[in-house]
Symmetry: C2
Subunit: 198 residues, 2 copies
């Protein structure tokens, strides 16, 4: 049973669950997206979907400056109430996210923010790398999709492996925090400056 | 003797000195730009012009988070050597600049970064506000120039009055630090996040 990147994306949009959880659920549901939604609901992971419409306009602005002051990060993470924003758990999440951006870098928060032409360029390059290997067209497409997914997991914060536990993505970390607090949690934006670089 | 905004701008580009210092020098030189350059050179303020070509690629990345974590700033300030970057004076300058951005806000580092269409729009609005007051055309131009200068001093960090001493601009502060350290100092960029706002 092959799980496609599109299925995972669709499930993530429907449930707000993390990428790893969606892949797992799709595997268990043999690729049936509706069944995967039910599995995630049962597991309590997709509670976030009911919250997705609720405004997340409270939260924290936090920074992380790497020792030596050559790399620094500013991040805004939103939740729904100032009460949750002031909890030690939310504060710890935001500091972990700032450190993640400093250590692993990222150009975007989520894949929806990656410009279409940047993805088209990457896709062209991946396809060109595979040409002349006499692979069947459908296999070629799948390999290219896989490489594009890999690319997303490098440039998008929410899809990166979490630096403190690479079994989980940063998106999983945020979803878990949302489940625990009962509030929609959104990484709104970040800036990362590296001395003397773009 | 009327000192125009263009003269001040020209003098600033020639010497790297602050806006207030340039206005003062132009006043003393009765509007003669060459004479004003000499005055600034004599005062030691325009030493920076010889440094303007030298690469400023060392420095510090620093942040300032306002208590309550609703406003935060990330800033990169460059100098020429790591030695100067590590001095307490440079560190203090960078922290003061970060606090200035947090407290006073700013959209740009310097006026060269303000898009031409934004200035054209402001200029149109200022002109429209003055119409019907039967002012002579040359006076109208001067008033509009003055209002545009005022606008720059609000949106450009380097032209803002310094929050700890509003007799000086932030540009003056940077120029003085450059004179003291003997190195070219450049505010390269900043990011300012305010919770829930653009």
């Amino acid at each position: 049973m092959q799980i496609t990147a599109d299925q995972v994306k669709q499930l993530r949009e429907m449930t707000g669950a993390g990428m790893m959880e969606c892949k797992k659920a799709l595997g268990e549901a043999a690729g049936d997206v509706e069944k995967a939604v039910d599995l995630l609901r049962k597991a309590g992971v997709s509670k976030a979907d009911k919250r997705a419409e609720r405004a997340a306009s409270e939260g924290l602005v936090e920074s992380y400056i790497h020792p030596g002051n050559r790399v620094g990060v500013l991040i805004e993470v939103n939740c729904e109430t100032d009460f949750v924003a002031r909890t030690p758990e939310f504060g710890a999440l935001v500091r972990d996210l700032a450190m993640q951006v400093a250590a692993a870098g990222a150009d975007y928060v989520r894949r929806e923010e990656v410009p279409a032409d940047r993805i088209a360029r990457e896709r062209d390059i991946f396809r060109a790398q595979l040409e002349g290997q006499n692979k069947p067209a459908n296999m070629l497409d799948k390999i290219v999709d896989g490489k594009v997914d890999k690319f997303y997991s490098e440039v998008c914060l929410m899809e990166q492996p979490y630096i403190k536990d690479d079994k989980r993505t940063v998106g999983d970390l945020v979803t878990e925090a949302a489940s625990k607090t009962g509030e929609n949690i959104v990484v709104r934006r970040f800036a990362r400056f590296r001395l003397g670089q773009e």
